[in-house]
């Protein structure tokens, strides 16, 4: 920080006045940031046969806090239901399973990406075209829910 002597003094004074609340750069609990979110495009033509059409949301989550947290669920206006899934390819066989959340240890970055963990949009309510944005809310075990805007991208 490049502060003049007087400015530095006042910062010090403020810090002293507010005590540990303001002084600590890292919050006592978990502190989740979401980065690089994107959703897969999907054309959703009206079709009774086979039900609706699905898509997936991918994000990076960083827990900048001091204690662990867990992504428990997600919801979106763009889908009838939202589930957290994991795809895994073992011996050439693709298996996709719902998971009971995603652990976020203190200081950890977890990447949801194609072929791995993803937030599955089950039954999209409309076609998702490149350039669209959808609203998604992520719910955590500890932290307050995070409402994010997710761009639809071809990746």
């Amino acid at each position: 920080m490049f502060l003049s002597g007087r400015a530095r003094m006042s910062v010090l004074a403020l810090t002293a006045a507010l005590g540990p609340l303001a002084c600590s750069g890292t919050p006592a609990g978990p502190d989740i940031a979401v980065e690089h979110a994107w959703a897969r495009p999907v054309a959703a033509p009206a079709s009774a046969a086979g039900g609706g059409w699905n898509s997936a949301v991918y994000v990076q989550m960083v827990n900048r806090g001091r204690t662990a947290d867990r992504l428990m669920a997600a919801s979106s206006e763009a889908a009838a239901a939202v589930e957290i899934h994991e795809s895994r390819v073992e011996d050439g066989v693709m298996r996709m399973r719902p998971v009971a959340g995603v652990a976020l240890a203190a200081g950890e970055r977890v990447t949801l990406e194609p072929g791995g963990l993803h937030i599955m949009l089950v039954g999209v309510t409309r076609s998702l075209a490149v350039g669209d944005t959808i609203a998604v809310t992520l719910s955590f075990e500890q932290s307050a829910p995070l409402a994010i805007r997710v761009p639809v991208e071809q990746r």
Binding site: A49, V89, P114
Partner: protein, 202 residues
């Protein structure tokens, strides 16, 4: 050394480097496939199949004259299947004009959900030239078994929508209907395009 001499030497070095690179590339073996690609040599005659497209019945023999890139998946799959289809689309883009000599086919392993018309809707969002096929449970099971594709319906304990476990390998058949290449899941579009280019005699 004058600056002219230095410049001359630099130009000469660049010419020698480019010349060597061109010569080395020219010497590349004719049949060179991706390091992850399984090559069947000689190609193995593939079983014919009788399935349904949105436009009517399709047999493998109907596709003779074109190399067939065959993927088994299902439309409910939001992750691995679209990723593969998107990469196949990109691979064909990279192939350019030769893409006309290749037919991408996706066969559902989930005929319960995926009708022929739903398959067309699904594949056409990646590329209108892709062919989506379905059929009766028996027909789909037979073709999957013939091509070594494991598939199993997985019911959920919580009553949620079922998923399908399935082999995610992509199969490549010659224009005479013989199995020649296997691509494991996760192959990059560039590698697939290069393999197809080699196969087409490029």
């Amino acid at each position: 050394m004058t600056w002219r001499t230095v410049l001359g030497l630099l130009v000469a070095a660049v010419i020698v480097t480019i010349g060597s690179a061109v010569w080395l590339l020219g010497r590349r073996p004719v049949q060179s496939f991706g390091s992850e690609t399984t090559v069947l040599s000689p190609p193995m005659p593939a079983a014919d199949f009788a399935l349904e497209s949105a436009d009517g019945p399709v047999m493998l023999r109907d596709l003779r004259g074109r190399h067939v890139v065959l993927f088994f998946g299902y439309t409910f799959c939001p992750d691995v299947c679209p990723l593969t289809m998107q990469r196949l689309d990109r691979a064909l883009d990279l192939l350019g004009e030769d893409a006309d000599r290749v037919q991408v086919v996706m066969i559902t392993v989930d005929p319960e959900r995926d009708t022929a018309s739903r398959m067309r809707q699904y594949v056409s969002q990646f590329d209108p030239s892709f062919l989506g096929l379905s059929g009766t449970e028996e027909a789909v099971h037979r073709v999957a078994t013939d091509y070594g594709i494991f598939h199993a319906k997985v019911e959920r304990e919580d009553g949620g929508p079922y998923t399908m476990d399935h082999t995610a390998t992509v199969l490549v058949l010659t224009d005479t209907g013989a199995l020649v290449l296997l691509w494991p899941h996760g192959m990059e579009a560039e590698t697939m395009a290069a393999d197809l280019h080699t196969l087409l005699g490029g």
